[in-house]
Amino acid sequence: MALLHRLLAGVQQLLGRSGDADLELERELDDYLRRAMEQKVTAGMSPGEAERSARLEMGGSEQIKERAREGRWELAIERLSQDVRHASRSLAASKAFTSVSILTLALGIGANTAIFSILDGVILRPLGYPKPDQLMFLSTRSPAVGLTSFWLSPVEYFEFRELNQSFESIGAFHVGEVNLFDGDQPHRVRSAAVDEHLLATLGIPVAQGRLFTNGETNGTLPTTARGQPPPGTQPVVILSHELWQATFGGRPIIGRRLDIEGVSREVIGILPPGVDLMDHRPEVWLPIGLNPADRQNRAGHYLSVVGRLRDGVSVESARAELETLIDTWADRVGVSGEGLAGHTFIPANRTVYRGKRMPNPGHVLQFWPLKDEVIGPATQTIWTLQASVGLVLLIACANLASLFMARADTRRRELAVRTALGATPKRLIQQFMTEGLLLAIVGGALGVIVARTGIAVLVRTYPDSLPRTSGLRIDGGVLLFAAGVAVLSALLFAFAPLIHTRMQGLAAALREGTNRQAGNPRQRARACLVIGEVALAVVLTTAAGLLARSVGNLTSVDVGFNGSRLITFSTTLPPARYPQSAFRAEVYQSMLERLRGIPGVTSVSAMSGLPLEHIVQTMATDFDGYVAGPADPQEFADYTNHVLGNYFQTMGIPILQGRGFEPSDATSSTPVAVVNKTLAETFWKGRDPIGQRLRPCCSPQTPWFTVVGVSADVKEGAIDKKAGTEIYFALDQTASLGTTIGTMHVVVRTTAPFEESAPFIRNVAREIDPTVPIVRLREMSDVLQESIRRPRLLSHTVNIFAGLALLLSWIGTYGLLSYTVTNRRRELGIRVALGASRAAILAQILRWGLALVFLGTVAGVAAAIGLSQFIASLLFGIAATDATTMMAVVVGVMAVGTLACSIPAWRASRVDPLLLIRED
């Protein structure tokens, strides 16, 4: 009750309704005084005497009013607004200080907020499914062939579904792209082929229409390989909300038919906005066409599998169950054959299996949280970014703290006057804090704008470099973070000037007036800040240097082909419209033929797997005459590539032995193959590979291929990985043997610039089939750049931060020295007057400044070495403690430091003693 009264009275007072409590009190006091006077006059005093005595008794009315005010809570707010007004005035008065501070803060807080929104959106935010922690990603591991996380075969998937008890639901899918023809334009859209269990497992609801029903996603044919849904699956499709909006304008579409990869499919449903699958953001969802009755193809691994743990089942207990299952998998599923027919899970610790000794045993099923799979190695990149940007903010705060100390020094006279007028030290500190907070709030608000722009630029400049970046936004949590950072930095830098002055000593310190000394504790504190700043800048610059050199190393890796003046694009002739594989190959050939006619084109080829983007296949292959010993590599080929046209010449891949493919191979009755150097050395070591035979997976009807040539290695999977073993086939030959390739990657070597050739290329593709889109038309050098986009993102961003750090420490060092020189002008002037040489003064100032920079550099190098392990795994071809980089950083930072010191030092040496004397 009493509280409510106080509250209402306070609010009234704040709102200024009857302005009044003060005025009223004054009238009351007036009345009091007059009554006291009357009393005294009645008692016999003269009016003048009575008034004097009454006033004396009452005391000063101002003091009474002040004391009456003390009890009001709104006073705190009044004071605050007073402080804010005062702070704004005082900040507005020193424009340079204010703008430097706000700019520094905006950049520091902005960069931190931007990176935090990535951290928040990618790592911290749970996946957008119900109970996302229960979702696990399942994969297989086969140490023998070096596969640490591979797909499951359909049979393995079916068997696990049937055997396990830990998972409530398990679903399978694979992602890819399909052609979509809306009757007007061909589109290439991201697709997910899924079974009905997957949508249930993830808990994806439908917004319109329906999801796949029981059995609707099954196929009837044997499932052979990753690729399009096999013929015979239901011709239905579910669209993403985004595709429905973008391509079909949100018009009613349920029940309509769409041409997808040449198959007319009925739209049965539309998903809600924002549904994702492993960061692939599928636009169309197709039935996968698995055949649960088909248990033949045990080793065709192409399924991604996601499971949802039952309520209350922990990851550990599910793992334990899985282990017991794997232990006796073959018996449980009744498999006993040899080779692929006997392919089954084997425990990784079983060195003897069915009487055979196994050096790298095991083929196991494993799982981990789906989120880990989605984010994967990006985690470290993002934390590195967050750490570097945090360092930038620390440096910014150190700079501001230094600035605040300098400002406190220059404001001594003002503070002394205010102390004399009755301001308490507490009040002065409050005002310091208010100034700091005000700067931080303005800086923080600007920072949020910086962050928004920063994220937009980052995501646009480095698309697909980080997972889950499509949904990045600055939401409440991120804003809260920005506010927290702002307040924390305000505390850091605004409180710093007061730390070394104890509360009760403050007034005294403030009263010191304008008598400044160079050696005062505040100067020493500022010197320490400069050392710290330089050290942090060195750490950041070292990281930036190492990352930049890693990217340099990645760029200069010999990828095995000549990527300059090479244009590439992908195209997919849908098997539904081109069912004959030989005919498809012919159509591709005729496309190459027409491309050859484009002005400037010197050579054209096409392949099934584009280097650097080729997904590892690990194809079981028989190598004639090769028997794997216990410790030898198993008979697998990492990559197979079906090529058309003059492949090796177009790509600029040297043939080391024998020959490449020739047009006559197409009609030759001898199937031929070219292998890469690594494969030849792996399986035919010490023998002539030419004339050796090999037979790829997986049926006994597959003919033997004769090796006619050995090519140099090409980086198929990634620039920073080993090339792996690879077999090339001539598609015009293998197509007649029944090989069906979905997507072909065409490469065109031309002397004309990309912009000139691109329209011609599009025309050719349109002429071949207007319903078939060509996608990712780009230069091969872009493929290279894109393959290292995450290291580049990291390197570029950290380099920007390092640049910022250097700039800030330059400002910090420069600021401190300039200030010192200004303060010591009188002393320096006297020394000049007494005969000190200007060179000596210059050297002295320079020495002092450089000593600080040097100390900072030493500390920074030590810290960089100490922290090197955290960055080691992000580097390529360079040690985290690389001496050259460190030296370069030391030289660079010292150069920046010298630059920062020399201007103030030079100014110091120009001090004119006469001018100084006149100043006083």
């Binding site: 009275a9 009091y32 009452m58 003091q63 009474i64 004391r67």
Partner: protein
């Protein structure tokens, strides 16, 4: 800057004001003189203590101020005690009795009792 009414035990001033106002509504000066009168001049309350206390009591809703014309048509702010004020006074008087009795007992205790 602690608040102290001259000669009045700290914290009891509020109680005394409330007690004074149970007789009739009064203005500030009246309260002060009445307190001095009743206490036979022992308790002297100066304006510097009185008005902050009045303000505090009013804001807490224990008394209510109202501008009225007094004798010779001058306007003065008259304070009257409110219902919560009476309740508070009652409670505090009881507490005061308990405490002062206790203190008195201790102070007058014979040596043997101590």
């Amino acid at each position: 800057m602690t608040e102290r009414a001259s000669g009045v035990v700290q914290g009891t001033l509020d109680m005394l004001i409330l007690r004074t106002l149970t007789l009739e509504p009064m203005h500030g000066y009246g309260i002060g003189t009445r307190l001095t009168q009743i206490s036979d001049g022992v308790l002297k309350v100066n304006a510097g203590s009185l008005f902050p206390a009045l303000g505090r009591l009013e804001r807490n809703g224990l008394i209510k101020g109202e501008w009225r014309s007094s004798e010779n048509s001058r306007r003065a702010k008259y304070y009257s005690i409110t219902a919560p004020g009476r309740a508070t006074l009652k409670r505090e008087t009881r507490d005061w009795d308990v405490h002062s009795n206790a203190i008195a007992r201790v102070l007058r205790a014979s040596l043997g009792e101590l």
